[in-house]
């Protein structure tokens, strides 16, 4: 299997205007929710009741909204992760596995490293998460760079391996398991926690770390030489090579950064919400991240909005399940349809831009 994402990246990133991206965002969201409604309706439940519950769960209270932001945090980081790899022409489906190991490493560092003040312990624990995600993604990067193995297959295989490692670490005889029945690591120390900053909520402020990452990513990609190199390899590996930019090393670097962001997502989740690692701590944030990255046109700002949307879906789905009896599995179906829509919309946009390209050419020649 060989494939280039050049065209797709082009279609998604080089929109004529913000308006188009916004239109795609809204269109995809509406189509996704409509599709969800049809599935809900076809199982003899009321989509109106379900969605009302969903949105009132998300916006009905301060607590509900902070929960939205808490879900948004890992989704945003994971979405940035997938998008960053995309800019270098890599489709990182492995964010979920990288996130898992990032959470594991951060969880371990949170309880195993002792005696540090919080301003050292917390960054160190986060960094452990980043490093774990980066190293894991580097395996896929290296297989791609030197063996030509498509990252879609390798990252999926690595996902399953990561899930099993996560399971093993906290299984009954696992090396990191805390005493007791629950398959999880011990709680992380207070010095490694992102503690709630609004009383009576779980809101940890991790979202600010994610937002800083979003800004940083935009800066790096479009305003630094590093970003130039990464985008050049993503758009045309052969032209990059011609220009003396080594495609392999650049891909490895991009993959490591992508994995690091996913690892950070896991770390923030473990250190800021569950305070301990268990292998079920992510409900598939790494998979939603694909839809988020595409829906956000691979642009940090778009990804912030898209992750907020998915944060609403995730946080609201708890109430939807309680009130309307609609399980949150529906969110995967919605994100599947959103990806479909974005991929298909890419076709239309591409068609239009090809048209105007030719016009531009004709004009230029005159």
């Amino acid at each position: 299997m060989k494939f280039s994402f050049t065209e797709l990246i082009h279609r998604i990133t080089d929109r004529k205007s913000w308006l188009e991206s916004a239109g795609m965002f809204l269109g995809a969201t509406v189509v996704g929710l409509l599709f969800g409604a049809i599935v809900i309706w076809s199982s003899n439940k009321s989509p109106i009741v379900a969605y009302t519950a969903l949105f009132s769960g998300a916006f009905g209270s301060l607590y509900g909204f902070t929960e939205v932001l808490m879900s948004t945090t890992p989704l945003l980081l994971a979405g940035l992760s997938v998008a960053f790899a995309f800019h270098c022409g890599l489709f990182n489906i492995g964010a979920e596995g990288q996130l898992m190991l990032g959470g594991l490493a951060a969880g371990w560092a949170g309880y195993a490293i002792q005696g540090l003040p919080w301003y050292l312990h917390l960054p160190l624990a986060l960094l452990c998460g980043v490093a774990a995600g980066a190293l894991w993604s580097l395996i896929a990067g290296a297989l791609k760079a030197w063996k030509g193995i498509h990252e879609v297959i390798s990252t999926i295989m690595l996902n399953y391996i990561a899930f099993n490692i996560g399971d093993y670490m906290v299984s009954s005889n696992g090396p990191l398991k805390a005493a007791g029945i629950i398959p999880a690591t011990p709680y992380v120390l207070n010095t490694a926690r992102l503690l709630p900053i609004i009383p009576n909520t779980r809101f940890s402020g991790g979202i600010f770390i994610a937002l800083v990452m979003a800004v940083l990513m935009g800066y790096v990609l479009w305003h630094t030489r590093l970003g130039y190199r990464i985008r050049a390899v993503g758009k045309s590996p052969s032209a990059a090579e011609y220009a003396g930019i080594p495609p392999r090393q650049t891909m490895l670097l991009a993959m490591a950064i992508s994995g690091g962001l996913a690892g950070l997502a896991g770390a923030v989740q473990v250190l800021g919400l569950s305070y301990r690692f268990s292998s079920t701590f992510s409900p598939g944030y790494g998979f939603d991240a694909i839809a988020i990255a595409l829906l956000g046109s691979l642009h940090p700002f778009g990804i912030v909005l898209a992750s907020l949307l998915f944060g609403i879906l995730h946080a609201g789905s708890v109430k939807m399940q309680q009130t309307a009896g609609v399980s949150n599995d529906i969110i995967y179906a919605i994100s599947g349809i959103i990806i479909f829509f974005v991929a298909l919309r890419g076709v239309l946009v591409n068609f239009q831009s090809r048209f105007s390209h030719k016009n531009a050419t004709a004009k230029v020649q005159k």
């Binding site: 050049t6 990246i9 082009h10 080089d14 479009w222 305003h223 630094t224 030489r225 590093l226 970003g227 130039y228 985008r231 050049a232 758009k235 045309s236 052969s238 032209a239 990059a240 090579e241 011609y242 220009a243 003396g244 930019i245 080594p246 090809r354 048209f355 105007s356 390209h357 030719k358 016009n359 531009a360 050419t361 004709a362 004009k363 230029v364 020649q365």
Partner: protein, 507 residues
Amino acid sequence: MELSICMQGIVKSFPGVLANDHIDLQVARGEVHGLLGENGAGKTTLMNILSGMYRPDEGQIELFGKPVRFESPKDALAKGIGMVYQHFMLIPTFTVAENLTLGAEITRGGFLDRSKSESMVKELSKKYGLAIEPSAKVQYISVGAQQRVEILKVLYRGAQIIILDEPTAVLTPQETEDLYQTVNALRKAGHTIIFISHKLNEVLRFTDRVTVLRAGKVVGTRVTSETTAEELASLMVGRSVSLHVKKLPREVDAEMLKVENLKALDARRLPALRGVSFNVHAGEIVGIAGVEGNGQTQLVEALTGLIRTTGGTIRLDGEDITHFPTSERFCRGIAHIPEDRHRRGLILDFSLAENSILGYPDRISLRSGFRLDMKSIRKFCAKLMAAFDVRAPSPDVMAGGLSGGNQQKLVLAREFSRCPKLLIAAQPTRGLDVGATEFIHNSLLAERKRGAAILLLSLELSEIMDLSDRILVFYEGKIVGECLRETTNEDEIGLLMTGGRHEVLIH
């Protein structure tokens, strides 16, 4: 005159482009009819319509006096029209026989009958005097043989009318000669041939009559024996052009590039360069002639650090750069106009400004550490565009939106802008029209005058002959001949290109 083809009022437009604008074309039975025009004049579109690949928006086609409509190439083939495309429609991993019979296979009991189809192909090849090996895989046979497979492919399907799209573009002079014999033999056998080309001398040699297209319209049809190269050229371009560049005598300076016993492998890990030694002086253009695939591409890649060498040394201005990475070589003063500007020279989805710094890690003025100073990059790009007359609305438009000529000018502007010691120009005018070609030739000569050492690779022998001071001929990864421009001619070079002098005696 009995007509085999009569096309009337053919119109075909693509989004934003009117490729064929009410074209009338009449081809007599049993003639070789030339279709002449620059790239983008609409020749290939017209022939794609005739061969059923495209459907016209307007217009009629008559075949031997009867109106026809083609829905597909298969339709056209069934009516006796076969096209030999410039980019061969062959599947490299299939055998000659498989390619030849594809879509009309010989079977036994529903299964492919390999031996029968191979013997049939052998017979066919004998009948028309076109030598091929039926069981060979197409990827391993020469370009000339691939073309013979294509011609046999349409003959196998019973084509009476054969369209040859730029058939000489990829051939050696000797293979071109063979093609000339083939075309004549086919005409004698009663076939009608349409010969598409943008090369004047070949149209003059091969055809009975010629129709000239410009910007999607027919600008005239001439009997070949009654016209001249000058007349055809001015019809083609719409103004009178000088067919040859004016060149000052060379003033050779210090030795700039010295290559000794250079060896390298190709992508399949087979030897592509087998010990190449030569030098290039400042103020000199050295042309590399050779049939495609004889190691020229690897030479450029080895010189620019894109592939690793397996032996030998490369010295630039006295310094050994054999093991330097690409970016270091650029810093040391090598500039490279790549063979394939779409794949290598430009990033089509980047803006012109972003493209203007491609490959320039050392551009101090545009570098502020980690940061990319887009403001001064835009300014720099605007300067390049002005200097080389790159026509685009602003440095922020995407490179993919420019015409081929403007794209190439941007690459040239970028590569010239740093006054390189060594300029490697690979096929700098491929696919460009006469105007852009003229501009690029003059720019290369200006660089030569400035004192750059220039290595010019081209598959167009006439370009090599026009520009070079010295000519090196490549054959199977080696230099088989070195000639001074003043003392050689196309025949000698052409002969060397096919492997050496001993063949003279055979012919």
